[in-house]
Symmetry: C2
Subunit: 434 residues, 2 copies
């Protein structure tokens, strides 16, 4: 007879979705079963897997695990944890709320949903005294959520920023490396599996914005939803900008930035030019990197591959392990017991800017343009002027200036006849001041 | 009357030591009291602080907190957590074991002690169903221990390596940046507070070796003590090596490396040459960076400032928070339920090597030396030969080779009359193969 003491605890999981991530999670839970049981004193069994068609035979998991009916999971009292990997808003939102309502804990990788309904779900989990974890939603295998939630309690964070989208970083790296045009670099990213057939979500910056909403929420204990995140994508970046950037010793990256200005926060996603010795400048290809900075810590960086199937699965399993080894409600209370900070307006943020202008190639153009900026008290740091046939190109870098004032100057510039194209300013990072 | 439900839990801490880190921990616990209470549902009070002379008035903490008698802490049943920040082996070991014996939890930043007695203490904590945490012992504010213990359970780690000593990284960065001699760079590090008056512990690599023992123990669930870590310091690095390295496109760093070879581990600290696009090559000054690599994760890097007083204090407070929000015994069981892997011999490790030789400047020298290496089946990748007066300098880089075979060739080389100085090989990282 086996004594009850030696019998390890066991928990049953319902898995929603069995794509790349889902099947990798299943595989990891099987392969690492002993490690996990030793780490947590609990063994884990996947009891049901929700898929669209449960009749398709799958070689890597027994057919009887699969179901096309969510009720088989939600109504099973043995299943105490639901792992949602189907993505999208619906039915994921329904499934997760049903699970939390019943006190089941939830692990999800669904950034869109969290960026829209995160605080609702966090509150629900707290109310029901259960947990929701979502490490895989932000930066693949980099445990930035865990570090933010658990290691930075005393750090008094002032900024969280970095490269949180692998697709755009791959494209920008390719453009810099090979002088490729944007469209060609995108095609290459698609060919190599680093961009979706429809890449809108990534290249528009929306994917990064969702992740920044999640990171900012946790870093500043303030509900930040996708709609609160200003967002510029990389579609407007030309190979000319990249060539000029190189001439100026700068590298272009799509940054997500969440920053505290006194008692207000500003959360944005935008392409930015970085000095080539900036640690983010060397984060290349589909890699992600996040910086954390606080009053009691200098810059900490976490970097690693962006969300591949295996990395995401590893983060999901990490969350499962965290849930079974942590007291409820624990720090979730903290997450929701928010400070509810106000937002700091984009217009008030002080930055350096880079600007490329197509202008008529005739005497006095530079003088006229410089005059407009001077009138608006926008101060030029450096200028490159190059003839290109009938037109000339003027590339200017400005000293740090309030965005409001810079935009006002830009409006005046656009009105000048000698300016032949819509000016496209790019922020230069590393000299943010208030 | 206040209902017991609304009264927050409270725990009392005994602080051992009140130097830079100790006073910063006290300050953080005071300043972040609300954040911590919200994060954990528990408020924390420092009840006693052990110092050598308790009569010295201190402006930042009330004088009645201080005591010079450890009994005031260990015998106080209200104190359930001891934070040890005095360092060294004794009396720290006595204090920590006494605390654990009584079921008090322990936070420590004491790497020397952990690298020697870690497994004894881990076992004791487990036996007494209490916890010991030690994030601050390894890499300042970088939460690498937490990530290893809690996020990497399913990662199936194969290597943990990086720059874990800020002093030596500062010295090597200075040597590379300014062509300074080793002694001058060391003097500058001392002047700027990045090196102790007696820097032996750092420059000999012993500090890094202690940290690698701790990291390897946790990554591979195997007791690794300081004595198991092969260790070469930076005293032998000359500014000539740094100049040649630059000529070869390489940067020199003191690395700590813990690696799995099939089912055996090898843990070492040594100066290594890195390709200039290696992510560790740009980790400069007193910064630390640790890479984690596993079967189910690609390289994850954590980097940040090495242990300053504030960073270390922040890590200590993070540990305090982790202890009060985590179930016991939790993952400590896992840590101690070790795999007890065997060690893989240094001699069997395959690496690229760099070698600088002072030789007689006469015809046939290169041929003779190359012949010796060829006889030993050690294959040359590149050679630089430079005349320096009567002598010449021969700088060679070799294709990956088993250390045993390379050492054998070196012995033969040393016997040659034309070789004028003891050869000083440096490992070239990035092409480790078995």
């Amino acid at each position: 007879m086996v004594s009850s003491k030696s019998r390890p605890k066991k928990i049953y999981i319902g898995l929603l979705g069995y794509g790349t991530v889902g099947s990798n999670v299943y595989g990891l839970l099987e392969n690492q079963a002993d490690e996990i049981a030793q780490a947590t004193g609990t063994s884990i069994e996947v009891k049901k897997i929700l898929v669209r068609d449960a009749t398709i035979p799958r070689t890597d998991a027994p057919v009887e695990l699969f179901t096309d009916n969510f009720d088989d999971i939600i109504d099973d009292p043995q299943i105490s944890m639901v792992v949602e990997l189907i993505g999208g808003l619906e039915p994921a939102f329904d499934y997760i709320t049903s699970a939390l309502e019943q006190g089941k804990s939830v692990v999800t990788a669904n950034k869109q949903l969290l960026a829209k309904q995160g605080f609702y779900l966090f509150r629900l989990a707290q109310e029901k005294k259960t947990q929701i974890r979502f490490e895989a939603s932000v930066a693949g295998a980099i445990p930035v959520i865990k570090v933010l939630r658990e290691s930075m309690v005393a750090a008094d964070l002032t900024s969280v920023y970095g490269i949180v989208n692998g697709t755009t970083n791959f494209i920008l790296t390719e453009m810099s490396r090979t002088n490729a045009k944007y469209q060609d670099a995108l095609a290459r990213a698609q060919e190599w599996g680093f961009a979706e057939a429809d890449p809108t979500e990534d290249i528009s910056g929306q994917d990064a914005a969702a992740k920044m909403a999640i990171l900012a929420s946790i870093a500043f204990h303030t509900p930040v939803s996708l709609d609160d995140v200003g967002c510029v994508g990389i579609e407007g970046i030309s190979s000319l900008d990249i060539a000029y950037a190189r001439e100026l010793g700068l590298t272009i990256k799509l940054l997500g930035v969440a920053r505290l200005y006194d008692d207000k926060i500003n959360v944005r996603v935008y392409p930015a030019l970085l000095e080539q010795d900036h640690p983010l400048a060397t984060v290349s290809g589909a890699y992600n990197a996040v910086f954390l900075q606080g009053k009691s810590i200098d810059e900490i960086m976490l970097s690693g591959p962006g969300a591949g199937g295996m990395e995401t699965a590893s983060a999901v399993v990490g969350d499962i392990v965290s849930i079974i080894s942590r007291k409820t409600p624990g720090p979730l209370e903290y997450l929701v017991a928010h400070r509810d900070l106000k937002f700091f307006s984009d217009e008030e943020v002080v930055s350096k800017f880079y600007l490329r202008l197509e202008v008529e190639d005739e005497p006095g153009v530079l003088a006229s343009i410089a005059r407009v900026f001077a009138d608006q008290k926008v101060s030029v740091e450096s200028v490159i002027q190059k003839g290109r046939g009938a037109h000339a190109e003027l590339v200017m870098v400005f000293h740090p200036v309030k965005e409001k004032r810079f935009r006002a100057a830009l409006e005046k510039i656009t009105e000048l006849n000698m300016v032949k194209s819509a000016p496209r300013p790019i922020r230069v990072e590393g000299s943010d001041e208030q």
